[in-house]
């Protein structure tokens, strides 16, 4: 796949659009009275991203549309209905729900809600019609559209949604979730599951504080905790290798064991069993705290760390031999083994990465909160899975990638920020997440019917 369209006219057009948008952004930025340094930084970043996305999409359409002319199909009400019935039903349902809510609940009648519903309808059209053009990146495309729509709706509905502070908060939480998801993605690509992630996060969190409290040099404790996480991942991998169908339970068992063990260790000689006290070093707090600085820039280094890790993982999965073998094994164990790929090696590696990433998340969360708490990982039990699934990585293995998961993580975080913004409590958020996962996944990861498999 090439990332730049062949015709120069298209590239020029993209460049012009980018410049116009960047100029608007530049003007708006100064209009809001932000600092010059920040405005320039954000303008350059957004221009670069926009230009890249435009070129990417243009290149895909160019190669798709050129070779074959679309054939004329039978025209008529019947065929329109037959080809689009799911879309029409979905749009009608949405409209009915909107009308009912509007009729029943007067405060709902605002222009923003109307815009929101219209945007949702457009998403549906996009998701059903346009996404067919993308064969492989379908889930990513739908995810991006949803993300964009969410940002637009939130920006209209919530005051200060696009303020630097809120963006920073969303990105910071996305970074924690994203780092924890690296491992889950790797394991899912091999067709496994890792439920020990939340337990490892909690265990790493209190163990790190305990070690620092003992007087171990903080940097060494940090590295040791991550190494221990990798070790636990190794144990997970080696124990579940022969029981790959039961990996769910094995990792759960390891999780219980490790949280129990760590809590026993930290409780020895302490009058307050289960509580760990200590002082988090400044560099660790700076690494993950909301007001962290990175060489003077007001960006918590964790976000940058996440971006760097994402780039490494995406490139490694796409271009390295390691990545290709992971896909090969996830897609078809037998043929990959016949080619001579060691299944054990890659299975173990996936779990080691997962353990290490979970421990890293736990350590970073310590810097964020400033106090150790074993339950800090609990919200990650199914959120990591949800992010992987929303992104479009198949839990059966062999399809997907970390880039998809990044989109899934962002969708989850922006949605959660939106829901908090409109005043919903955590319970409602959880409910809405649950309701939303299904239709999103249904759009791109349907299994073939049993009739088609025989």
């Amino acid at each position: 796949m090439n990332f730049v369209p062949r015709s120069t006219a298209l590239v020029t057009l993209n460049l012009v659009i980018t410049f116009v948008v960047a100029a608007i952004g530049f003007g708006v930025g100064f209009g809001q009275g932000m600092g010059a340094q920040e405005v320039i930084l954000y303008t350059i970043i957004s221009a670069a991203v926009l230009f890249w996305i435009l070129n990417y999409i243009a290149a895909i359409f160019e190669s798709r549309l050129q070779p074959d002319k679309p054939t004329e199909s039978a025209v008529g009400v019947g065929s329109v209905w037959r080809n689009n019935r799911v879309l029409i039903i979905a749009m009608a349902l949405l409209l009915i729900v909107y009308l009912i809510v509007t009729g029943a609940y007067p405060p709902f009648r605002t222009i923003y809600n109307l815009i929101g519903v219209l945007v949702l309808e457009i998403i549906l059209v996009f998701a059903f019609k346009v996404s067919n053009v993308f064969v492989h990146g379908r889930s990513a495309f739908i995810g991006l559209i949803v993300l964009l729509a969410l940002i637009v709706i939130s920006a209209f509905t919530i005051n200060g949604f696009l303020s630097p502070a809120n963006i920073r908060a969303v990105l910071l939480f996305a970074a924690f979730l994203g780092i924890a998801c690296i491992g889950q993605t790797m394991v899912a690509l091999m067709g496994g599951l890792d439920l020990s992630i939340p337990f490892l996060i909690g265990a790493a969190n209190i163990l790190l504080l305990y070690l620092i409290g003992l007087g171990v040099p903080p940097w060494f404790a940090f590295v040791a905790v991550i190494a221990l996480g990798c070790g636990i991942g190794f144990l997970n991998g080696i124990m579940s290798y022969k029981l790959q169908g039961q990996a769910l339970i094995i990792t759960l068992g390891t999780g219980f064991t490790i949280t129990g063990l760590v809590q026993i260790i930290t409780s020895i000689g302490s009058a307050f069993a289960g509580n760990v006290f200590g002082k988090v070093p400044d560099w660790l707090a700076n690494l993950a705290a909301m007001n962290g600085k990175f060489f003077g820039l007001a960006v918590p280094p964790t976000i940058l760390l996440w971006i760097a890790l994402s780039i490494i993982v995406v490139i490694a999965l796409r271009y390295s031999a390691y990545g290709r073998y992971v896909y090969a094994l996830g897609g078809n164990r037998r043929s990959a083994k016949l080619v001579g790929v060691s299944e054990l090696k890659y299975w173990l590696l996936a779990y080691i990465i997962s353990g290490g990433c979970a421990a890293l998340t736990g350590a970073l969360l310590l810097g964020w909160s400033g106090g150790g708490f074993i339950g800090v990982g609990d919200p990650y039990l199914f959120t990591t899975l949800a992010a992987v699934v929303i992104g479009g990585t198949s839990l059966a293995g062999g399809y997907g990638g970390y880039g998809f998961t990044v989109i899934g993580v962002l969708v989850l975080q922006v949605l959660s920020s939106f829901l908090i913004g409109i005043g919903l409590k955590y319970e409602w958020q959880q409910f809405i997440f649950g309701i939303l996962i299904l239709p999103m996944v249904a759009l791109y990861s349907r299994q073939p019917s049993i009739r088609a498999q025989v």
């Binding site: 029981l243 169908g245 949280t259 063990l261 409910f431 299994q447 019917s449």
Partner: protein, 440 residues
């Protein structure tokens, strides 16, 4: 896969072994469990987990990796709805509560099945979706644990007798499933779980079978929720996750394959009982302030160990062919009963931690004033006849099963007989000198 070669029930060996070890330790460490009250409360506490495990089992057998993670939140949902409606005085009668619970359970599970069939998303994703949605809505309906269960339930959860309605529900559910296994529907279900394509080509109507399996699962969840409501006598929206994880664990401990096709109600029951016993045994040790953590760790370790042991099953099945799970159950059961009787008889009354006013399974021997076990000769005859009849039936059943399996040699029979004799001998030895016999 080497798994497929060994018979299904061989996987029961591990839960049986685990249970006899745990029960042995449990009875020695905390003899209170062999009293009427101890058993009664044990049944009350373990019943919701057992039924939730059944619910998971019936969909796990249907294949495609259907692990219904939402079983805990669904249970909590029914619990919370029952309690909320009771508070509002809307549904308070037993019939109403049962209908309500069954309706919610079945509706949810049918929706689950329809989504799998029509939308064709991986079941684990549907389960995940349901898990998040239900856990969220539970907290919306009820902010924190509270409320009161319907009044007629109060006596259910006391656990002061073995024969509580909860036991009845459990027995009905188990018996119902056993009856169901006789039907061809069950054969189709297992076939579909084992190999969906083969089942399809041989004419099994997969969609119908799947909906059926989910309806059964919904019934089990509803019963579990009722037992749970009776147990805690209030509403608790927070225990969903724990219940899900525990039930999934119990399913795996019971030797039920999450990949589908392999499952057994006895396994599910044993798995759930084992989990209860792990908690019970650990509670008899005193670890002070780190008790909860030790429990958690042992829980994880036992989970891993018993899973790793299933790797040995094909090996064991190949080399030790004279022993079947059923005979193992008999042998180990005889040992455990012997331990139970020994403990129940030899333990002086004061040493029983809980049962100061309760009764042992057998009459207390140390004290002479608590003799509530005087039988008339006719009663004795009837009792003995009943016991002989029951034992005879069980032995016949073993002989038939083992003969058709061509596995249970002389050795096995001899061993069971020997164990039974040994157990009785031990009992007699302990009971004779103090009060002269079992039945006065």
């Amino acid at each position: 896969m080497s798994e497929t070669r060994s018979p299904q029930s061989t996987y029961l060996l591990i839960p049986i072994l685990l249970m006899s070890i745990l029960l042995g330790i449990g009875v020695i460490r905390g003899p209170a469990i062999v009293t009427l009250e101890g058993l009664g409360s044990a049944i009350t506490v373990a019943a919701p987990l057992c039924l939730a495990t059944y619910a998971l089992m019936s969909v796990a057998i249907a294949g495609r990796g259907t692990v219904d993670l939402a079983v805990g939140p669904l249970l909590a949902f029914i619990n919370v709805v029952i309690v909320s409606l009771n508070e509002l005085d809307l549904v308070t009668s037993p019939l109403g509560v049962f209908v309500l619970a069954l309706a919610i359970g079945i509706t949810y599970q049918v929706l689950f099945a329809l989504v799998i069939i029509i939308v064709r998303v991986q079941p684990i994703i549907v389960a995940l979706s349901g898990f998040l949605a239900l856990s969220g809505i539970n907290r919306v309906i009820m902010q924190r644990p509270g409320g009161t269960a319907p009044e007629w339930m109060n006596s259910w959860g006391l656990g002061d007798t073995i024969f509580s309605p909860i036991l009845l529900l459990l027995v009905l559910a188990t018996g119902g499933w056993l009856l169901f296994t006789l039907s061809s529907f069950y054969k189709h279900l297992r076939m579909m779980g084992y190999d969906e394509r083969a089942a399809f080509t041989s004419g099994v109507r997969g969609n119908l079978v799947r909906v059926g399996a989910h309806i059964i699962s919904g019934i089990f969840v509803a019963l579990a929720a009722i037992c749970y409501t009776a147990l805690i006598a209030s509403g608790d929206p927070t225990q969903g996750t724990t219940m899900s994880l525990t039930a999934v664990t119990a399913v795996v401990l019971g030797g039920i394959s999450l990949a589908g096709g392999r499952g057994n109600v006895l396994g599910a029951l044993l798995g759930a009982i084992n989990l209860f016993l792990i908690g019970y045994v650990l509670a008899t040790f005193n670890f002070g302030s780190v008790q909860a953590f030790v429990t958690q760790m042992c829980y994880g370790l036992i989970l891993i160990a018993s899973l790793l042991l299933t790797l040995l099953v094909p090996l064991v099945g190949r080399h030790i062919s004279f022993i079947t799970p059923f005979s193992a159950l008999m042998i180990l059961g005889a040992v455990v009963v012997a331990i139970m009787l020994t403990v129940g008889i030899s333990m002086p009354e004061g040493a029983l931690p809980v049962a100061t006013t309760g009764y042992d399974l057998l009459p207390a021997t140390g004290t002479s004033d608590v003799v509530a076990f005087v039988l008339t000769p006719i009663q004795k005859v009837i009792l003995v006849a009943l016991a002989v009849f029951t034992l005879g039936t069980i032995m016949m059943r073993i002989v038939v099963v083992e003969a058709s399996a061509r596995r249970f040699g002389v050795f096995g029979h001899a061993m069971v007989a020997g164990m039974l004799v040994l157990g009785l001998a031990v009992v007699a030895l302990y009971s004779l000198p103090s009060s002269g016999g079992l039945l006065k």
